[in-house]
Symmetry: C2
Subunit: 331 residues, 2 copies
């Protein structure tokens, strides 16, 4: 298996990306195509003693940043690590593509270079998030600000397959984000979604209120990309704020500092539990290839875990399964 | 000033409601009309020695619960504490109405009994939430699952007045919940809202991403009621989950229990900072009277603070100010 990695994407590229790729190459039975500036990548390899005969470099001269307009960048920066990497995926020179770069550019590249699966109307950004009782998927978490109910059904179908094959959940539960538990609750869009999901073959458990999302009792949480993005970012925002304030309070006196010191392992365990890097990146479900968006601030561990996630997707035949399932649904 | 209080609404009614009313009557220069089952209210007064000549009881025989269909309940349960209380407000027998009862019924009663302000298309549920740097308003947090851009403008106008008059913010900042900071980001609805807000006289600061909402740097956070309800409930959900897990971890060993004991004042201060009861309830902006929805699980302190909030609204002439401002905008 060969995984294509965008060496130049993310806040800590290329250092952490190269490190993570090296760790993955060492631990797993895979080859890695590192796409990016050859000199810079080799500097990192030399400087950190990361030599591996399982890593190959594909030299590129351009980088797409968060300041670039995604669609323009995809069209114009032909020799960027992201565009070249995605083209390699399209040409089957590798089995999966990973980038910690611009979300917008990964979406645009996924649609325009890799292309959508036939029968899928919208591709969806689908991260796995840590919940209190279990981890869960949030689909769509930002690819489609406006959606139709049929898109939500597609998201459900794809999420179910991913949950089964990669997250190893036997009968994943599916829920619809809504502002009440009863069928008739919500806005015009969610009411329509409820109907469509209820009539489907999915293991649909009805509406899920935002208060219950962090429990992690629903495996696949469905919503439009606007709502999903708000949820994803508020998750980060509220958790970050709570820890900022606690930290401030704890360091405000000697006695509380001692308390904080004693509870260090507790906070550490907690942090690990809520560590997104444990779960890899967000897969872009619906495109004709395995494309994974790693968190922008990914460290080497996050990159390594995203590579592992890509391997599970390839081994699980996610893309083929989605193709078959969509064919069955649409026929 | 006379405040009408629904004695039967909320999880802890009538006990905590009567207690809170007593505390407010004792502390502030007001009279209170307690609407509800006379026998039950008098039992609470007797049992807890809450006698006050500033509290008058209006006897009612029915109660609207969360299980009732809001609009049906408003129409049919004519002798419920909520319906009678709102009618008293409408008839100017009191200056404001407070209930910790069913949100849906309060909304329905606000619209059908108290009535909308002329020129206001939609009334909005507008809680004040604790942020890291400051408290802020979230409008609409659930009254209107579907909105138009013009409604968002109305919410902004009303929120600005409330922030100035009740929260004493001189020049409140206004933000639009969106999934990117740039003007062109978002869904069809937020793009339209951005235009309308930008052209208004409001102190509009542009889009605010969900990650930044808990900072509290924007005084009035605007969104449709679906998004607002998701935000409100996820706030509660994430915070609750974090504290549940921390508690579990802290009580898991003797040493961490000691750490927890030392940090008790820290957690207490934190809890106070994030205590919704400090800020009263959520005002229903846009109806022709001061209607406040207190949290369903309100204790006496929350009720007392909601009464104080009602007093500030009445003294601040919120309803009249909204009427004038809307007239000016629409002319």
């Amino acid at each position: 298996m060969k995984i294509i990695v965008d060496a130049m994407g993310g806040d800590n590229a290329p250092l952490e990306v190269v490190k993570g790729s090296y760790l993955a190459a060492k631990e797993y039975d895979i080859e890695i195509l590192l796409v990016g500036d050859k000199d810079k990548i080799e500097d990192v390899i030399k400087g950190n003693n990361l030599y591996s005969d399982k890593i190959e470099i594909v030299h590129t001269t351009e980088i797409i940043t968060n300041n670039d307009s995604p669609t323009l960048a995809i069209r114009r920066k032909k020799d960027s690590s992201l565009v070249v990497g995605m083209k390699l995926l399209k040409e089957k020179k590798g089995d999966a593509f990973i980038s910690a770069g611009s979300t917008g550019a990964i979406l645009a590249g996924g649609l325009f270079i890799v292309g959508r699966i036939e029968g899928i109307d919208r591709a969806a950004l689908s991260p796995v998030l840590p919940g209190k009782n279990n981890y869960f998927m949030l689909i769509d978490s930002g690819a489609n600000a406006d959606c139709k109910a049929e898109n939500i059904l597609e998201f459900g179908i794809m999420g179910e397959i991913y949950s089964k094959k990669v997250l190893k959940k036997q009968t994943p539960t599916i829920g619809l984000v809504n502002i009440g538990s009863e069928e008739e609750k919500g806005n015009a869009f969610t009411k329509e979604c409820f109907k469509v999901l209820k009539e489907s073959n999915l293991n649909f458990k009805g509406n899920i209120e935002a208060r219950e999302i962090p429990d992690g009792n629903i495996d696949v949480v469905l919503c439009d990309g606007f709502t999903g993005n708000v949820i994803l970012k508020l998750f980060e925002g509220v958790a970050g704020t709570i820890f900022d304030i606690l930290k401030e309070e704890i360091t405000s006196s000697t006695i509380s500092k001692i308390g904080g010191l004693i509870l260090k392992p507790v906070f550490k365990r907690f942090k690990k539990k809520f560590d997104y890097t444990e779960y890899g990146g967000a897969i872009l479900l619906g495109v004709d290839g395995t494309v994974i968006k790693a968190h922008g601030s990914s460290n080497s561990k996050a990159i390594k875990n995203a590579i592992k996630q890509a391997m599970l997707c390839v081994n699980g035949n996610i893309v083929e399964d989605i193709k078959n399932e969509v064919r069955r649904y649409k026929s």
